[in-house]
């Protein structure tokens, strides 16, 4: 096959596309969805703990949070991969990505909690609500609303970080493209298609986030 001359070869493009889409659906999206769910829940827990826990505990949580967020995801992945060799890499990857992004999302939640008007806190005192009820029935529902667009942006950026999972042998979209390139000594189509899939997916999801932002802003 004399394909080294042409810039773009459709045979290679069609050959690699099914593999790319498959790994996109079964790995990249799975990691993003489950990872986001972990990050969203854990991030909220971190944010609330930092507000309600006694000083020393909150201090330790903040320190650990900053340690995770100011160090590379890749190093954290490798750390966990070599430390827990008995766990499946994909599971580990999802957990690490989820925890890493939880530390970002915790800050988003914090801003959301700070933005709840003082009057709301005073009202819960006036109604002698328990702290538990104050948080779950008054503060968190209001805090969440303003945070959704920012959380959405972090989901998109997590999606773009999922290729880092290849360092712990997870064959996601970009790794699939790289493997095809290596086997056939023909990287162009595979890598460009991987990029295209990313571009389309992140563009569509950014439109979605922008729409959400508009809708939430209007009614609040």
């Amino acid at each position: 096959m004399n394909d080294q001359e042409s810039l773009w070869n459709w045979d290679h493009a069609w050959a690699v596309l099914p593999d790319l889409l498959w790994s996109f659906l079964t790995v990249t999206l799975v990691v993003t969805v489950i990872g986001s769910a972990i990050a969203a829940v854990l991030g909220l827990i971190i944010a609330v703990v930092r507000q309600v826990a006694p000083r020393p505990v909150a201090g330790i949580v903040t320190l650990v949070m900053n340690l995770i967020r100011m160090t590379p995801l890749v190093v954290q992945l490798l750390f966990v991969y070599y430390a827990f060799t008995s766990v499946e890499p994909l599971t580990l990857g999802i957990l690490v990505v989820g925890i890493h992004y939880a530390t970002y999302m915790a800050e988003v939640y914090r801003a959301g909690i700070d933005a709840v008007p003082r009057g709301q806190w005073e009202a819960t005192t006036a109604l002698s609500m328990s702290p538990g009820r104050t948080w779950t029935a008054v503060i968190i529902p209001q805090a969440l609303r303003s945070t959704i667009p920012a959380l959405g942006n972090y989901v998109i950026s997590m999606f773009k970080d999922t290729p880092f999972l290849m360092v712990i042998t997870v064959t996601e979209l970009v790794r699939t493209a790289q493997l095809y390139g290596g086997r056939n000594y023909r990287y162009l189509e595979a890598i460009l298609l991987a990029g295209l899939i990313y571009l389309v997916a992140s563009y569509l999801s950014s439109l979605l986030v922008a729409r959400l932002e508009k809708r939430l802003a209007f009614t609040s």
Binding site: N66, T71, P72, L73, V75, F79, Y104, P163, A177, R186
Partner: protein, 244 residues
């Protein structure tokens, strides 16, 4: 523990070599990213739809795809025919990092310029300044002070992003850690590694805080340098919104 320290002692030159490479990549990537950010950030505000559109497309291309896609494109695709552009891995790394984070930075630059109060723009018109004068002497100095915190976030992101370059055969800190872990406890090696990255990130943040204090000082918004530095630096992850 003693074994670990002995192994670390033996591995120290290599660790420092890796750290030095990480610092070089961060510095090189940051310089390129800064140039790209300023360039695209200004171009995207042009009146001409052609210039504006081209800048916008470049920005979205680099923000919309993953850093690794860009790195692999430069490292694997460009050297093959018909392009035949063979770059040194270090340059491939610096270019990928610079373009990727530069595209994010362009949005920060654009946003900060737009955030300069309209009265300042009107004043430059009243003084009949030229476009270049207006930007250089009035608008940019003020936008600069506004953009530093977000640029700091991106700088930390870039530092963290350098950790992937070992995939294209560069011996950086992450690669050095991979060697170290074979001779020591995994926990020891990677805890040490994370602390090293953390220390660099912290130092960069202090530097940027000082830069911000100076920028504000130049605008007459005084804040003592000492106070600016000691107020704890905790960058806000990817504070620069993704698609803003």
């Amino acid at each position: 523990m003693i074994d670990n320290l002995e192994a670390l002692g033996r591995a120290l030159p290599r660790m420092l070599e890796g750290l030095w490479m990480t610092l070089q990549l961060t510095a090189g990537g940051a310089l390129l990213a800064f140039a790209v950010a300023i360039g695209l950030g200004l171009l995207v505000r042009f009146d001409s739809i052609l210039v504006r559109g081209a800048a916008r497309i470049i920005i979205e291309l680099f923000r919309g795809t993953s850093l690794l896609v860009q790195l692999f494109f430069i490292f694997f695709v460009l050297p093959l025919p018909p392009m035949n552009i063979q770059l040194d891995p270090i340059w491939a790394g610096i270019i990928a990092l610079g373009l990727n984070y530069g595209a994010y930075g362009a949005e920060v630059v654009r946003g900060s310029i737009n955030a300069v109060p309209s009265g300042q723009w009107e004043a430059t018109t009243a003084l009949s300044m030229s476009r270049a004068q207006r930007m250089r002497r009035v608008i940019f100095p003020q936008a600069w002070a506004l953009m530093i915190p977000s640029l700091n976030n991106l700088l930390i992101q870039l530092l963290k992003g350098t950790a992937v370059v070992y995939l294209i055969t560069i011996f950086d800190l992450t690669a050095a850690l991979d060697k170290l872990r074979m001779d020591t406890d995994v926990f020891f090696a990677y805890s040490l590694g994370l602390l090293m990255y953390f220390a660099v990130a912290y130092a960069l943040t202090l530097m940027m805080n000082a830069l911000e204090a100076r920028a504000k000082h130049n605008l007459g918004q005084r804040k003592p340098l000492k106070e600016a530095i000691t107020s704890a630096p905790v960058p806000d992850a990817k504070g620069a919104g993704q698609f803003g």
